[in-house]
Amino acid sequence: MEEEAEAEEQQRFSYQQRLKAAVHYTVGCLCEEVALDKEMQFSRQTIAAISELTFRQCENFAKDLEMFARHARRTTINTEDVKLLARRSNSLLKYITDKSEEIAQINLERKSRKKKKSEDGNHNSRELAEAGVVESEK
């Protein structure tokens, strides 16, 4: 049993390392873009520091999001929770709000399209086909 716990711990740790590596790679790509844009180089330590920072912040964000959802007596993290998380930075909050509105609109359009199609289509086969199309659109 202890061995299992240990193995599980190791598994989790290796999984964490893989995630960190993924973050590090992504941060490296982004830094390269910025370096090209500003014509300024990024040292390796800088990229490593930024990726470590990003990883820890992601952990914090996740915990906060969970607490926000629990605070609102929900079990699912919502866009509202994300907006609450991003309230510090005004520009970021605005960006996220706009994006969320856009997504909501898309979802609404899809729903209305779905409803229209279901009303029009009386035949099962046609409904199925359209449902399949709608699903694929999503």
């Binding site: 906060d64 607490m67 926000f68 605070h71 609102a72 007596r73 509202e80 929770d81 609450l84 309230r87």
Partner: protein, 465 residues
């Protein structure tokens, strides 16, 4: 002996302040004592023969060293209470200050009237501190009576009037809480009712006295504050209403916070605070009622002896400050815990914040209580430049500033080194922003849960880190 008495008198005033604060007094409640004094103000000796002598030597020695009423001086004072006899020479040295002189005159009168006081002096012990408390109540009243018998009545009566008038005005005008969700006001209303009739009776009896500028100003203030309070907006009443729970905690807490402030700092803000006089008045009026309700006996009693000191201080600082300032300050004296009240008022909109501050300030009260009593008078002086002008947004700013100044003073106390004025201003700005940010977060958290009231869960979420 008489010289010793002199120093005893003024010493005991400050002494009693923190004696009360530290809660040593148990036999006679300060409240009953204060009541007796107010009721029997014109009469001569309220002094307890026992209490006259004992605590005086100890505080006197400490006073010259620690007028700043730092925490260290407070502690110093406490142990020195034990050996009163040894302090006699020290007492003589300190008789130079104005207050002591007045007290010395009073002491002479007391000595004549009470030859028995010598004996109790020998029996100094821990319990004597409490009796010194009694002394402090009597002494502030007596000196004035000795010097100018005709005016003896006025200062105490004036103080009582200020409080009662404010309370009455508040009661009359403010009954509907505006935009702040507050608790019921019942705990506060009852005690004020008891005081107000007494106050009104004394008010008409007070003639205009040109004896001292401060006193005169105080009387003007009292009268002006009366109508001023009536016209004041409902906000102060709201604060009054809402602060029930926090008042107690805050009264003590803020008193303790102000304990660490040096005298010089107190004088400075006095000049600065003259501008914010009107707002302070409203706040203080509100807070006064709160204070009374909470029965902050210690602070209220501390106010009494402070009255003398503040009067003298105001006179000194009168040069620059308006006449109203000192008058307000002297008027403030009666309003027990006016220092606490502005803070309370400011914290009203941020009740949770207050709660946190309360917890934060908990360790302070015991040591700083005594020192506090001396200090709140000074901040009160600062704030108390009374003007019955009532403007809606301005009182709010004043409230914030009033609350923050106490935190700034606490900050400077803990710094244990002199701080530049600019630095303190920066601290105040930072505190202001911090609190605003804090409360915005709380508001957002409450809204996130679909509520309009900030609850403990919101605070927990805030403190998760």
């Amino acid at each position: 002996m008489t010289t010793r008495r002199h120093s005893h008198g003024d010493r005991t005033i400050s002494r009693s302040a923190y004696v009360q604060a530290s809660g040593h007094l148990e036999e006679q409640t300060p409240r009953t004592l204060l009541k007796n004094i107010l009721l029997t103000a014109p009469e001569s000796s309220i002094l307890m023969p026992k209490s006259v002598v004992k605590p005086v030597p100890a505080p006197q020695v400490v006073q010259p060293s620690g007028r700043e009423s730092s925490l260290g001086s407070l502690e110093l004072q406490l142990p020195e209470l034990e050996p009163p006899t040894t302090l006699a020479p020290g007492l003589l040295a300190t008789g130079s200050r104005k207050q002591r002189l007045r007290l010395s005159m009073f002491q002479q009168g007391v000595d004549q009237g009470m030859p028995l006081s010598q004996e109790p002096q020998r029996n100094v012990d821990a319990s004597s501190l409490t009796s010194s408390l009694n002394l402090t109540f009597a002494t502030p009243l007596q000196p004035q009576s000795v010097q100018r018998p005709g005016l003896a009545r006025r200062p105490p009566a004036r103080r009582a009037v200020d409080v009662g008038a404010f309370l009455q005005d508040l009661r009359d005008t403010s009954l509907a809480p505006a935009n702040i969700v507050l608790e019921d006001t019942q705990p506060f209303s009852q005690p004020t009712v008891g005081y107000s009739p007494r106050v009104y009776r004394s008010l008409p009896c007070m003639p205009h006295t040109g004896a001292e500028d401060a006193e005169l100003a105080a009387s003007c203030k009292a009268r002006s504050s009366g109508p001023g309070m009536q016209t004041s907006p409902q906000k102060p009443a709201q604060f009054l209403v809402g602060e029930a729970e926090e008042v107690d905690a805050f009264a003590l807490d803020f008193l303790s916070t102000s304990s660490g402030i040096s005298r010089e700092d107190g004088v400075e803000p006095l000049q600065d605070g003259v501008e914010e006089a009107e707002k302070r008045m409203e706040e203080e009026g509100v807070s006064v009622s709160q204070m009374e309700v909470t029965g902050a006996q210690g602070p209220s009693r501390a106010e009494e002896p402070k009255g003398h000191r503040e009067v003298t201080e105001t006179e000194e600082s009168q040069g620059t400050a308006e006449a109203k300032g000192p008058g307000a300050s002297s008027g403030v004296e009666d309003a027990s815990d006016r220092a606490a009240s502005p803070e309370l008022v400011s914290s009203t909109p941020e009740s949770l914040q207050a709660r946190r501050h309360h917890q934060f300030l908990e360790p302070d009260p015991p040591p700083g209580a005594a020192v506090l009593s001396s200090e709140p008078a000074e901040p009160l002086l600062v704030r108390r430049s009374p003007k019955p002008r009532t403007t809606g947004p301005r009182p709010q700013q004043a409230l914030h500033k009033a609350g923050l100044s106490h935190y700034v003073k606490l900050f400077s106390f803990y710094a244990k080194m002199p701080m530049e004025r600019k630095a303190l201003e920066m601290v105040e700005k930072c505190l202001d922003k911090y609190f605003q940010h804090l409360c915005d977060d709380l508001e957002v958290f409450a809204a996130h849960a679909g509520r309009k009231t900030v609850k403990p869960e919101d605070v927990e979420l805030l403190m998760r880190r």
